[in-house]
Structure formats: C-alpha cells, structure tokens
Amino acid sequence: MTIYAVNKVCYRVVHEPAFRQALRDNPAEALRGATPALSEEELAALLAGDVGRLSTMGANHFLLHQLGRFEVLGLDLPTYARRIRAAYPESAEVRRSWTSVP
C-alpha cells in the first residue's frame, strides 16, 4: 500500500474531465472504482476533503492542490490552503513573511 493511489486520483482530476465530473456527482462511487484501489483511510480522507490528513500521509502537494484548483471533494483553493496550513501550525510564524505568487 502506497500513497500512489491518492496521487493518481489527483492526476486524473487534471486529465480526465469525466472522472472530475464523477467526483462531483457521486464521489464515493467514483473513488471506490479508482485503480489502484484506495485504502479505507485514504478513501475517508478524500471524501472528507481532508487534505491536511492526506498531506501527513505523504500525498504529493503539487498533485494534492489540484483537488482545490478543480473544486472537487468540497474543496476550492482557499479551503485547500487553509487545511494544509492547519496541518502544519509550526510553519505559521515563518510563513507570515513569505510572499505568494499570482
């Protein structure tokens, strides 16, 4: 079992419009049909839009943020960013001085 299954879901969100739509219409069914199969823990975190948990499980952040960019699983980019920040509170003080890119 690796986090690859989660990363691949994120990859497919970018490249498969039909999968993207399926995630909006019936996320549980779309995710249960994903290959390779997701673990129950991965599935629950995805369905909850819990990107903080997925991040700490080792999901790739570049891929993970695509869930927010494409607004699936209850996410958008501000929600995505808020949940990642919440998962890493120790980064907050340093982060305040960092600039953001358009």
Binding site: H15, N60, H61, F62, G68, I84, R85, P102
Partner: protein, 275 residues
C-alpha cells in the same frame, strides 16, 4: 556544425499570460521582462531552441518517470494541464532531437526519448511570449526537477554539455539557443505556502544567491551550492533551477547580456549571447 549562439531563461507562471493581457502595473513589468528576453532571442536568430523543462506530473507521472528524456516527436501540442490557456501546436526538430539522443547514449549519457506527448504549461507559457507564432522548432529536454529523487546539479550540467557536444558533431549549420523554464524558489500547495495563497516563495535569499552567481558567470559555484537539500528548502518547485543549470551546461560560463530578477516571486529573466 550546429552552434550554440545563446541562451535564455524565464519563469512560466500559468497566470502570466492572463495578467499581461488584462493590463496593469504587474502586466507592464512582465511584458517588459519577457520583451527584453524576446528581443535578445530575435537578434540571436535561432533555427532551433533546445528547451529544458520539468514535467509537472502531466507526461510521465503514471507509466514511467525518466530522470532525463528528449522529446523526439514531429510536433507537440499543449498545454495539457491548463486547457483555459491559449493552445499551441509546437514544431519539434525531430531529426535533430533523435541525433542528440543517440549521441548522448553512445557517449555515455543515458537519456531516454519520448515519441508522443502533449506538452504542459512550463513550455507553452514561455513560448507564448518568446515565439508566439511558434515558428522556431524546439527540442524538448525533460529534466525531472519536481519529483524526488531529483538528479544532481552536476548531472544536469553534464547533460547540457553532452547536448552541446552532439550539436558540434552535426554537419548542418544550425543556430541553436538553449532555453530554461522555471523558478529558483517556489512552493505550490505545500506547507510552506504564504498566509494568503496556496503558493509561496520559501527561500527568497536563495533566489538572490542564484541570481548573483548567474550575474557573475559563476556556474561552478552554482552547481556546488545547488544541493538536493538546498533545492528542497527552496520549495517543492525549487528543482526547476536544474533546468537552468542544464541550460548553462551548453556554453562556457559567462555573464549574461540581460538579467533581472523578481525576487519576491523567486525567479528571474535572463539572456546570454555566446557568439
């Protein structure tokens, strides 16, 4: 023989085409910076661009992940990852690309080849500004700068040097310009994002250091300092610097003809003339 006559390096933020099209203060600055690089590129009159880019999990992620690969298709299309951006059919100098790949492997640098692919925004955004008519064919060279384990900086420079050697053995009189696409410090979607966005510039000091070394033509120092640890500290897209280092491998170190940074964004615009 084919000759490396120059090189350019630019960022590829997918929002820049829209920002420039809409106008405003940042648009003017970006238009000026891309414009300066484009002016040098036009004066260099290239027949082909050797384009160093890092796939953003679009081409290679699922089936295979080469550390280095050369695109040898007849042409490519994209961007595959931002369908809302202007799409382009981009010609590839396929015979040249294949000769470079053969030379590299036979001379001991084992680089793969990619025969059919759509390109992503790190290629289309720079070309949107540099060669908007897509009238200069490219040879895409993929450097795995985003997905750890990253190649060592010295290997990336050696890749550029190997491509230069290949060009020197080619009988055609082609003018070649190397292109590098990417940032020096950039985090996308990771915990080192800013407080107000899903992106950030975790290590602007590193960006300043890179630009100082580029300005001085100190490529040895840049390669020595661009460790995996330093690149990781610069953000999860910090490995795009490796595309610049590969580009620098294609000519003897020298100061650039143009170099201007946007340190707050962790990147720079540059042009070298090596004729």
């Amino acid at each position: 023989m084919a000759e490396v006559v120059g090189a350019v390096g630019v960022p590829h933020n997918p929002h820049f085409p829209r920002i420039v099209a809409q106008g405003g203060p940042m648009a003017e600055e970006l238009a000026r910076l891309y414009g300066e690089v484009t002016r040098h590129l036009r004066e260099l009159a290239p027949d082909v661009l050797v384009f160093f880019t890092s796939d953003h999990y679009n081409i290679f992620f699922v089936e295979s992940l080469p550390i280095f690969s050369i695109g040898v298709a007849e042409s490519t299309y994209g961007p595959s990852d931002y369908r809302e951006l202007a799409a382009y059919q981009i010609p590839i100098d396929s015979p040249l690309a294949r000769r470079i790949q053969v030379h590299a492997v036979r001379s001991g640098f084992d680089v793969g080849m990619s025969q059919e692919f759509e390109i992503d925004h790190p290629v289309t955004v720079p070309l949107h500004f540099l060669t908007p008519r897509m009238d200069v064919p490219i040879v895409p060279v993929f450097v795995s700068g985003l997905m750890p384990p990253l190649p060592a900086a010295r290997r990336c420079r050696a890749l550029g040097a190997t491509i230069r050697q290949a060009l020197e053995q080619i009988p055609d009189n082609k003018r070649v310009v190397a292109v590098a696409s990417g940032s020096f410090s950039l985090e996308i979607g990771g915990p080192r994002m800013s407080d107000t966005s899903h992106t950030g510039v975790p290590d602007p000091e590193w960006s300043e250091r890179v630009v100082a070394l580029l300005a001085a033509g100190k490529v040895d120092e840049l390669v020595a300092e661009a460790s995996e640890e330093q690149i990781g500290h610069a953000g999860n897209a910090g490995g795009e610097l490796l595309d610049w280092i590969a580009m620098l491998g294609m000519f003897d170190p020298c100061p650039p003809a143009f170099l201007e940074a946007q340190h707050e964004l962790g990147h720079a615009f540059a042009a070298w003339r090596v004729e």
